[in-house]
């Protein structure tokens, strides 16, 4: 079916096209031990990154990009709310006109969020059914939604599917404008290959919840980036979330140009800087001299599994041959 071939993916919202993201994994202490997670992300071996290091690197990014881009620093872990310096780090970034974001399991109580709301712009709360208290999680979402841009990931655990589903349904009932996604889980968060063993019904239900979300929620997007617009060879386009690309198993862009590195960088616990969480292309190390990328990259991965990476501009790679030069010239793309 050549007609429905997708050839170009860009941000659905104009505002997202001007965002530069630094997504930094600052340590791996966590209060959860989810079965599909790994030591790398919850083992506690990587100490939290010192604030001076974060601030120093942030200064460099701000100097390079702040003229033309809105810069978002997003911190992940581990569970970053366990990091005692988090407030100070976020405060420093806010004072330097950056946007701030964290990815959390939503486990802290309300008092914590009352303080943090002043230094945060975005919070992504992920519901992990094996450990989370669904009621506390819901009430935190209610509070934060009033004060910040909130996105909620309901991780659709195959064995605890009903818990995740009923929380998802409750959110669909209780909110009209919540950015929400229903995420199928990988067998391991560090193994980018295989989804958990879902039944067909479960996969269908995930799609139904997502369809209900699209119908219900008036403001689709409260993330600093997320919803993408996919363009097809026949001229049609379609708005789609990163989660849906994964659920529909259409997350393969090997050979395409990917703007990871130009729209975002990611930093590992070891302070290595990559274009994206697929770790295809290391560009340097925090604390050392290196050049930030100036070109897109040719994707060499057979799957793109991280939402952040999926929510990056991509374009099918066109090959010039002596025979088609005139054709390209006529269209005006070379």
């Amino acid at each position: 079916m050549i007609d429905n071939k997708s050839v170009y993916i860009d941000h659905a919202l104009e505002i997202h096209k001007n965002i530069y993201t630094v997504n930094w994994n600052i340590g791996n202490q966590c209060n959860y031990r989810c079965s599909y997670c790994s030591d790398l992300l919850n083992g506690g071996s990587a100490k939290w990154t010192e604030p001076e290091i974060i601030n120093g690197f942030a200064d460099r990014i701000i100097a390079q990009y702040s003229k033309n881009k809105d810069i978002v620093f997003e911190f992940t872990g581990g569970e970053v709310t366990l990091y005692k310096e988090l407030y100070n780090v976020l405060k420093y970034l806010k004072e330097r006109n950056c946007y701030t974001s964290i990815l959390t399991n939503g486990s802290p109580k309300l008092d914590y969020w009352k303080k943090m709301k002043d230094v945060l712009d975005y919070v992504t709360l992920s519901f992990h059914a094996e450990h989370a208290n669904a009621e506390l999680f819901y009430s935190n979402v209610e509070y934060l939604h009033k004060h910040l841009n909130v996105h909620v990931n309901v991780m659709m655990h195959n064995k605890l599917f009903d818990i995740s589903r009923s929380l998802g349904e409750k959110m669909l009932d209780g909110f009209n404008d919540l950015s929400l996604s229903f995420q199928p889980l990988l067998q391991s968060l560090t193994n980018e290959k295989i989804l958990l063993d879902y039944t067909e019904e479960q996969m269908e239900m995930i799609k139904e919840l997502d369809t209900a979300r699209v119908r219900k929620m008036e403001i689709k997007e409260q993330r600093y980036k997320g919803e993408m617009r996919e363009y097809f060879i026949d001229g049609r386009s379609n708005d789609i979330s990163p989660e849906r690309f994964i659920a529909e198993r259409r997350n393969n862009w090997k050979g395409w140009f990917c703007w990871a590195g130009l729209e975002q960088i990611v930093i590992t616990q070891e302070r290595q800087v990559y274009r994206a969480w697929c770790l295809q292309d290391q560009v340097g190390e925090v604390g050392k001299e290196f050049d930030l990328p100036t070109n897109p990259v040719v994707c060499t991965k057979s799957k793109c599994h991280c939402n952040l990476d999926i929510a990056t501009k991509k374009q099918c790679n066109l090959i010039i041959t002596p025979d088609n030069i005139k054709d390209f010239s006529e269209v005006g793309v070379i």
Binding site: Y8, P296, V297, T300, Q315, I325, S329
Partner: protein
């Protein structure tokens, strides 16, 4: 080969260039393994640094070559050329064993090194299985006859290229050598370069003008004798948005300073790989993209890469296909599709 040697003035109006591809179909279908057997910094005659680290033994080289051959033979068949580079090649005692083994595996072999061994060494190569010999030759005396006689003998079975880098001091010697070479049609290709800064002995204006004349005649001679075509790589055809500009040698791209392809797609890794003396494998000798180590695992590339280097200096990296990336907008999609430009890689 259908192309014409490009005119220098055309290369000077190089703007809007979008594609550099092999002129010869023969070169397009070759895969080159550039293998540096020592860690010397360059291949010029003055190179002094011969690696102190022990080179791989012949058995290892052959075993590792098998790994490379088994991957690329599926694509390139018998058109894989192993090019052993570096000063140390000439001192590598098991070279003949390696070359013979590679020949048995249906590959071509080449040496790209300095002229520093006695005639006997080259006679051995002649008896053996070597296909290409590229020598960096230092002009030091005007009795070239024994050297040229040796080359004449070698070229019976080996394609030969002579690389000569000169300063103003050696210019008169060069003229003598060139007279000898041009006087007969022995099938030795000659490539000239001059080092403007070496010992501050730059060529004066007259020398420079004569030098360029010599180069032009050598290029024409190579064409007439089919020497470039018969080498394992050579002319690269340059296209702009209007179509073909001309065919140029790598050294011409360097000389005219048209060797800047940062941000372009480069087929290094698909048309060639580069192996260092300690077994690290890169797409090319600019070392932009490490793809593995012989002792461990190599992820052979299947896709071109965005060049992130300011300049491309090594001739063997220039003789790799390159393309300006096509960026389009959603509004272009239907037009591109209508004329069938969305093809799988």
């Amino acid at each position: 080969m259908s192309g014409n040697i490009g005119k220098m003035e055309d290369l000077k109006v190089y703007h809007k260039t979008i594609l550099i591809d092999h002129t010869s179909e023969k070169h397009r279908n070759k895969f080159i393994v550039n293998w540096k057997l020592d860690d010397s910094l360059n291949f010029a005659p003055k190179a002094e640094s011969i690696d102190s680290a022990a080179p791989l033994n012949a058995e290892d080289i052959i075993n590792y070559s098998d790994k490379i051959i088994s991957h690329y033979q599926k694509i390139y068949g018998s058109n894989i050329v192993f090019v052993f580079k570096g000063v140390g090649v000439m001192l590598y005692k098991d070279l003949d064993i390696v070359i013979k083994a590679l020949k048995e595996r249906n590959c071509k072999t080449a040496i790209d090194s300095v002229f520093l061994r006695k005639a006997y060494f080259y006679e051995q190569l002649n008896k053996g299985n070597l296909d290409y010999l590229s020598l960096y030759y230092k002009l030091s005396n005007n009795d070239f006859k024994p050297f040229l006689a040796m080359l004449q003998n070698l070229r019976q079975s080996i394609h030969i290229r002579l690389n000569i880098n000169i300063s103003s001091i050696e210019f008169d010697l060069l003229k003598v050598l060139m007279d000898e070479i041009m006087a007969n049609d022995d099938q030795v290709s000659v490539s000239l370069s001059h080092d403007g800064n070496r010992d501050k002995n730059e060529l004066n204006d007259l020398q420079l003008s004569l030098f360029h004349e010599m180069k032009e005649s050598l290029i024409k001679r190579d064409q007439r004798l089919n020497l470039t075509e018969n080498w394992y790589c050579g002319l690269m055809r340059c296209y702009n948005t209007e179509g073909q500009i001309g065919d140029y040698l790598p050294e011409e791209y360097v000389r005219e300073e048209k060797n800047h392809w940062k941000g372009w797609l480069c087929w290094a890794g698909l048309e060639q790989i580069f192996i260092t003396h300690n077994g690290n494998v890169f797409r090319s000798s600019c070392c932009q993209d490490w793809i593995g180590n012989l002792h461990d695992y190599i992820e052979f590339p299947t896709l071109p890469v965005f060049c992130n280097k300011e300049s491309c200096y090594m001739y063997w990296n220039i003789t790799v296909k390159k393309q300006y990336p096509v960026y389009f907008q959603p509004k272009d999609i239907v037009s591109l599709a209508r004329i069938g430009l969305f093809q799988p890689l």
